[in-house]
């Protein structure tokens, strides 16, 4: 079922590509427009996805079982990791690299890895400080200072 859902998503993506390709202008065969390639790629994606979807219905069963797809998924860990990464990116400029990285590492070690508080904080401090020294001071990358600059 999941592969069929993926096929449907790809078909929608193909339709979006074709519609936008037409909007950008297809041009002519002598001078293809900016939308020509997205349109062609969209058509190709749509055809392949449709064939895959139909062959999935025809075969009846897939080589990948639905139970196999999510059987070993730890939604809690994957969810926390994903959300904390998105929050980290969203607050990257405000918190700054050092504080943001420290908090992210603590979350990853404490919540995801389920380490004790000390085992989570000590490596987190080490990673954030060392990476700050390595990337910001040694390599001179313009990483945001965030709230540290206010302090």
């Amino acid at each position: 079922m999941w592969l069929k859902i993926a096929d449907v998503i790809f078909i929608i993506l193909a339709i979006v590509a074709c519609l936008n390709g037409a909007k950008y202008g297809l041009g002519s065969h002598v001078n293809p427009g900016p939308g020509a390639m997205p349109f062609l790629f969209g058509i190709a994606l749509g055809i392949f996805s449709l064939i895959d979807l139909l062959s999935g219905f025809r075969k009846g069963k897939s080589t990948i079982k639905d139970s196999d797809v999510w059987s070993d998924t730890d939604w809690k860990k994957v969810g926390i990791t994903t959300v904390s990464l998105l929050l980290y990116a969203g607050l990257f400029n405000m918190l700054g690299f050092l504080v943001g990285t420290l908090l992210l590492c603590v979350v990853l070690y404490r919540v995801v890895e389920q380490n004790s508080f000390l085992k989570a904080v000590v490596p987190s401090i080490l990673i954030s400080v060392l990476s700050y020294i390595f990337f910001k001071i040694w390599f001179g990358l313009p990483l945001p200072s965030g709230i540290i600059s206010i302090l």
Binding site: V30, A44, D52, K77, V112, S131
Partner: protein, 525 residues
């Protein structure tokens, strides 16, 4: 009388005066490789390569993608030497975990588990590791020699190609990749189309129209290779690893002991190493062929021709020597299409191609004619890199056994931080971090659904080149599509591509063979 070196005589004999022009740059390239900075990066590359090979979880493509932004601040040659070192170094490291812990550090080392781990259980971990390193070294050196020998003739030939031939070659390359992909042809084609579509995001180079930018100014230049590759291979791997419980312990049965194989072991392995090298070299050249298929193919051949096939799977040293030589030869020969034609045969080569473009190099035959020193220095680095790897994997094998004891999950936050810094530092933009995270989630879902990311990333890299070749060919022919069919080389490539797509579903034997291959790969993953 002018003294002519054997190398000059070879080149003059085979391809005439053109090659002689390459001899001086070749010597210059070899010398520039001896620069301490380049040597340092070569060592770093093979060291990190072995490290990622030893640590299951993050593969060479992920490591190369993560380090790509860091390389923006170092000289181009050092960048290529570093990334290439990671790529071929990982194949050495992958065998260590296969032999000692029965967990392949790298997909290409899966087959090594069969006999390598059995040898370790029989108290022969040392000779297994030894023959693996020696076989890898011989194959690496012979593979690199292959690059040196074949590069000039291929480039001389490819320089005569026009945009029509280039377009057809890209089509053939992608078709081969799709044909040899680990998933079904249709799904690999879908992934390639998605990669091509992602490649169209941004400002159209000819008409100046914004495509699919969704009003995000940072997307005007398109999606960067770095956030895309780091997302699919770095963050995607991390999310997969977060939920997996990889337990690795070195069992007492795998005491390493003496790593140098006995004379008897050498005698048994010599032929296997050479056969593995030949099989691997030719498999590696094919787009999508890669080290994994090479190792399986050479193992199957070795088992078939062996006088004692029953010993395979129970600790036959040939079962270690052959696939390990094969995957290293394939790794080296994969550089040939990328360096000479600008066609990456796998995702690792696509990242390296991206590095070439980022550093202002034109991939393809022009690379050798415009930057021969860099090209030959890179080839020289492979000789030296393989030598360094032999030292790292024979006398210093103890280091990697200690590394094996580090739980991978401890490294997850470090890898995440490197990915974030890498994505951010390209344009100093948080948008790139979000792009990377988006593709990280996509990569994770693709892994769950067993969709191969390699066709996507390859199509993404090749897409813009293909679009340019297509448009140029049409301009040259005043819009006639016939240009792709009237030129013999272009036509031949298109016919081969078509046959590859059409024949397997029609011919039962081919279909069965392909399905068997997919099944083997699924079992392996």
């Amino acid at each position: 009388m002018v003294w002519v070196t054997p190398a000059e005589r070879y080149y003059q004999y085979f391809i005439g005066e053109v090659a002689v022009e390459f001899l001086q740059p070749m010597i210059n390239g070899l010398w520039s490789m001896l620069d301490p900075t380049t040597l340092f990066y070569c060592f770093m590359g093979v060291f990190l390569g072995t490290l990622v090979g030893v640590l299951p979880g993050i593969g060479p493509v992920g490591a190369m993608s993560i380090l790509l932004p860091v390389t923006l601040n170092i000289p181009p040659l050092s960048t290529f030497v570093l990334l290439a070192g990671i790529y071929y170094g990982s194949k050495y490291g992958g065998s260590t975990t296969s032999i000692l812990v029965n967990v392949p550090g790298e997909a290409a080392s899966v087959v090594t588990c069969l006999d390598g781990y059995q040898m370790a259980k029989n108290g022969q971990a040392g000779p297994a590791l030894g023959i693996s390193a020696i076989g890898s070294f011989i194959a690496g050196i012979l593979g690199t020699l292959g690059i040196a020998v074949l590069a000039v003739p291929i480039v001389s030939f490819a320089l005569k190609y026009g945009p029509a031939e280039y377009f057809s070659m890209m089509i053939l390359g992608m078709t081969l990749l799709v044909f040899l992909s680990s998933t079904s042809v249709m799904r690999a084609l879908m992934m390639a189309c998605v990669g091509l579509l992602i490649g169209t995001i941004g400002l159209d180079p000819i008409a100046g129209v914004l495509r699919f930018t969704m009003g995000i100014p940072e997307l005007m230049d398109g999606v960067g290779l770095i956030p895309l590759a780091m997302g699919l291979y770095g963050i995607g791997e991390i999310l997969t690893n977060v939920e997996q419980k990889i337990r690795r312990q070195i069992s007492l049965s795998s005491k390493v002991g003496r790593v140098l194989p006995s004379w008897e072991d050498h005698k048994k392995s010599f032929g296997a190493i050479l056969r593995g090298t030949v099989v691997g070299f030719f498999t590696g050249i094919l787009p999508g062929g890669g080290a994994t298929i090479a190792s399986f193919a050479s193992y199957a051949i070795e088992k078939r021709i062996s006088r004692h096939p029953e010993k395979f799977g129970k600790g036959a040293i040939e079962g270690v020597a052959s696939p390990e030589s094969s995957n290293n030869a394939a790794t080296q020969s994969a550089f040939i299409p990328m360096l000479t034609l600008g066609i990456p045969s796998n995702a690792g080569m696509a990242v390296l191609l991206g590095a070439l473009i980022i550093h202002g190099f034109t991939p393809g035959p022009l690379l050798l004619s415009q930057h021969p020193d860099t090209f030959w220095a890179l080839v020289a680095s492979m000789f030296l890199g393989n030598l360094m790897l032999l030292i790292l994997n024979l006398p210093l094998i103890g280091i990697w056994i200690q590394v094996l004891k580090i739980p991978f999950r401890i490294l997850i936050p470090i890898i995440v931080v490197m990915c974030v810094v890498g994505a951010y530092s390209v344009n100093n933009s948080v948008t790139d971090i979000f792009v990377m995270l988006f593709f990280g989630i996509v990569g994770y879902l693709m892994k769950k659904l067993s969709l191969d990311a390699a066709p996507l990333i390859l199509a993404f890299v090749l897409g813009p080149i293909m679009e340019n070749s297509f448009r140029q060919a049409l301009i040259l022919s005043s819009g006639s599509i016939k240009i792709f069919f009237v030129r013999p080389i272009s036509l031949s490539m298109l016919i081969i591509a078509l046959l590859l797509l059409v024949l397997p579903p029609l011919i039962p034997a081919l279909r069965e063979r392909r399905e068997k291959m997919i099944q083997e790969k699924e079992e392996e993953s």
